[in-house]
């Protein structure tokens, strides 16, 4: 056997040895990796207490709700607290050609809310009053234009105000009589 042939065989054995060592290392690494992946499902870990899904308190019983009577009481209280009285003379007078309408419109003492009134003729607002507190009234309105004819139906619209917002609208129909 020549020197060259012996060297070739020796090299071949060394290469096979290294391939074998490499294969063993790869298998060992794979084994360690797979073992680390399955760590959470370790039967020993399952014995640990399961953490709570959230905070708070769990109560016994069905969902609570207001009883029908409680709802009715609540609604009744709201309604009764909002009572408002309109007080208007059913007749107003105006001189022919004049724009000063004499009418009596009050925000009576029994009310708790402020209001202002509008005088409306055929859908057109002819007068808007200042804000009236309870126990205040107006006795004349300066219309934006005179009324024609002897008798005119007018609408006195109460705008009931609470905290700067209109919370109710109540109208009263009156008759304006023109005097010559």
């Amino acid at each position: 056997m020549s020197e060259n042939e012996r060297n070739r065989q020796k090299n071949s054995r060394n290469r096979n040895r290294w391939i074998g060592i490499g294969a063993i290392l790869v298998i060992a690494v794979l084994f360690i990796f797979l073992r680390s992946c399955n760590h959470d499902s370790d039967p020993v870990d399952k014995k640990k207490p399961v953490p709570l899904p959230g905070g708070g308190e769990v109560l016994d019983g069905d969902l609570p709700h207001m009883s029908d009577d409680a709802i009715r009481d609540y609604l009744k209280q709201k309604q009764d607290a909002s009572m408002f009285t309109v007080t208007v003379n059913s007749e107003a007078t105006i001189q022919k050609g004049s724009k000063t309408l004499h009418l009596m419109v009050a925000n009576p003492e029994r009310n708790s809310l402020e209001c202002y009134v509008e005088v409306i003729h055929k859908g057109e607002t002819l007068y808007t009053s200042p804000l009236m507190k309870p126990k205040q009234y107006i006795q004349k309105a300066e219309l934006s234009k005179p009324l024609e004819g002897d008798k005119n139906k007018l609408i006195v619209r109460y705008n009931i105000v609470y905290q700067g917002e209109i919370v109710g609208v109540q109208e009263t129909e009156i008759m304006a009589v023109t005097k010559s």
């Binding site: 709700h65 029908d68 709802i71 009715r72 609540y74 609604l75 009744k76 709201k78 309604q79 009764d80 607290a81 909002s82 009572m83 408002f84 009285t85 309109v86 007080t87 208007v88 003379n89 059913s90 007749e91 009596m104 009576p108 029994r110 809310l113 859908g123 609408i155 009931i160 209109i166 919370v167 109710g168 609208v169 109540q170 109208e171 009263t172 129909e173 009156i174």
Partner: protein, 196 residues
């Protein structure tokens, strides 16, 4: 003697007053023996003051998880006027911030109302008023029109002089409310002396 004199004085005075009185009457208003006399009767009638009290808030609650989802309570309307008045219902409109708008009650059948889905439930409701006491009357509000104030009577509740009437809200609505809501509406009413 003094008593007798006093009686004579009184009697004379009465007699004179009768004669004098009849003389005045005959001078002012001559009596026609055939037709009698005419007397002018002059009276004055002051205009009636209309005084009506009613709530500005009409409350209701909807619980879609109940067999009867709609709850309202009677509200008292007091007519303190010494004359009959008509309480006219002009309409109900949603206040700003309320997306559930008032629609015509006849826009759906009762079955359709209860079968409305989420979108329709939260956007539509029909509201009206019914009398609790007295003659049963129900007045449904017309559909609201944005920016338009109701001005035409949709129905009337007659109120007797110096009396009270109980009315309450009625509604037709869907039941698919995905979130709890506060619904605010304005009621437009008009009071007028009863015609006729």
């Amino acid at each position: 003697m003094r008593t007798s004199f006093s009686k004579k004085i009184v009697s004379a005075a009465l007699l004179m007053s009768l004669v004098f009185g009849s003389a005045v009457a005959s001078a002012d208003q001559p009596i026609d023996p055939d037709n009698g006399s005419t007397v002018d009767v002059v009276g004055t009638a002051s205009a009636t003051t209309i005084v009506v009290t009613m709530p500005t808030v009409l409350s209701f609650a909807i619980n879609p998880n109940n067999v009867k989802p709609f709850t309202s309570v009677p509200a008292t309307v007091v007519n303190s006027t010494y004359a009959p008045v008509d309480l006219q219902i002009l309409g109900i409109t949603s206040a700003s911030g309320t997306d559930t708008k008032v629609v015509d009650a006849a826009s759906h059948t009762d079955q359709e109302w209860s079968a409305l889905g989420r979108s329709a439930t939260t956007s539509q409701i029909a509201l009206g008023l019914e009398s609790v006491s007295g003659t049963p009357i129900t007045v449904w509000s017309p559909a609201e029109i944005e920016g338009v104030t109701p001005s035409v009577s949709a129905g009337t509740f007659p109120l007797e002089p110096n009396s009270s009437e109980e009315i309450q809200v009625v509604a037709k609505h869907g039941n698919a409310w995905d979130v709890a809501k506060t619904l605010n509406y304005k009621l437009y009413v008009r009071v007028a002396l009863t015609e006729g």
